[in-house]
Symmetry: C2
Subunit: 197 residues, 2 copies
Amino acid sequence: MKRNELPATPEENSRRMELVRAAARLFRDQGYERTTVRDLGNAVGLQSGSLFYHFRTKEEILVAVMALGITATTEQLASALAGAKDTRSKLATLFRVHLHSLLGDNQAALEVMLYEWRSVSAAAKPGLIVLRDRYEALWQQVLDQAASEGLVKQDTRLLRRTLLGSLHWTVQWYRNDGELSVAQLAERMLALVIQEN
Amino acid sequence: MKRNELPATPEENSRRMELVRAAARLFRDQGYERTTVRDLGNAVGLQSGSLFYHFRTKEEILVAVMALGITATTEQLASALAGAKDTRSKLATLFRVHLHSLLGDNQAALEVMLYEWRSVSAAAKPGLIVLRDRYEALWQQVLDQAASEGLVKQDTRLLRRTLLGSLHWTVQWYRNDGELSVAQLAERMLALVIQEN
DNA sequence: GTCTATATATCGATAGAC
DNA sequence: GTCTATCGATATATAGAC
């Protein structure tokens, strides 16, 4: 039988949350379309049919993964920015938090958000776009402030898009077992855009 | 019946080429997994079964699309670089050719190469990686020369990766009907990395 | 809540006529 | 070379027992 009471926040249903985290890894590693509901069931010790007590459709799981990825990153960034003293260190925080979220061990969810967007139905996109815009607004504020202090170039809207593109792309080539730590990578990427005087 | 003689270059079989171009658009718009062989047949006026006279598998079509996208772009870049006088204009050429190839009307193939990589079998990857490395080598040469002349920062290997990431990401937000032409966008993105003296 | 069992649909690919 | 016809596998989702 089915109950499926709706927009429960992720935290209040641990079974849901466990499923979302497992789905994030599977979707990242295999892709959304190639991951079957049987795969998802196996990953949490359930039969495939049992998943549909918790989610109405497979796509609803995808949307939950993406929402988790972007909201978790936004929260981490907001609280890290609050603790940064000057603009230069706020700038460094943007890079550091983004890369730790994207390349860190438990954050497949954000990667799914970036690379499975096409599998999201038109109905679900607006809600996710709101979450994404909230994240990018944090970036825009810091970049505008940095530009006013001469730390970066003035074209901050385009700068935001190019920087986020650069960071997103790291998942395609960065290796955790390489010679470069995530923190070092963040520092070097920052150095590429800072204006020296 | 099936013949399927092998590595014919794309040009010498126009039916193959027509199919690859149609597949590029479909794979870009719907994704590889969501595009069925029936979709592909419809796009070129064939029954789905007839496709398998030209290609052994659906994946073989994907690989052909990617190979076309990256080799066409590499050729365009190489010939454009040959006509550039100084390093500054070579640098501009990198951005201009890449964006025209990625955002231009007839170049869905390159976008498929960037965003359907996970659907390529392990057996087919090495051949495509060779093609990609050839393209990136052109970038590396120009960036190294530019760094030696003080036009860009010195960390050119990381710079190459961040710039390509920025450019790849444009497909996610650039609109052809917007206020910014592709050439203007290339110019402004270049301006963000040029070192002023 | 999770199970078993299955409905229903659709997929990639093949076989043989023409 | 393209067609018709279809095989066999596998997909998401549902129904009802427990």
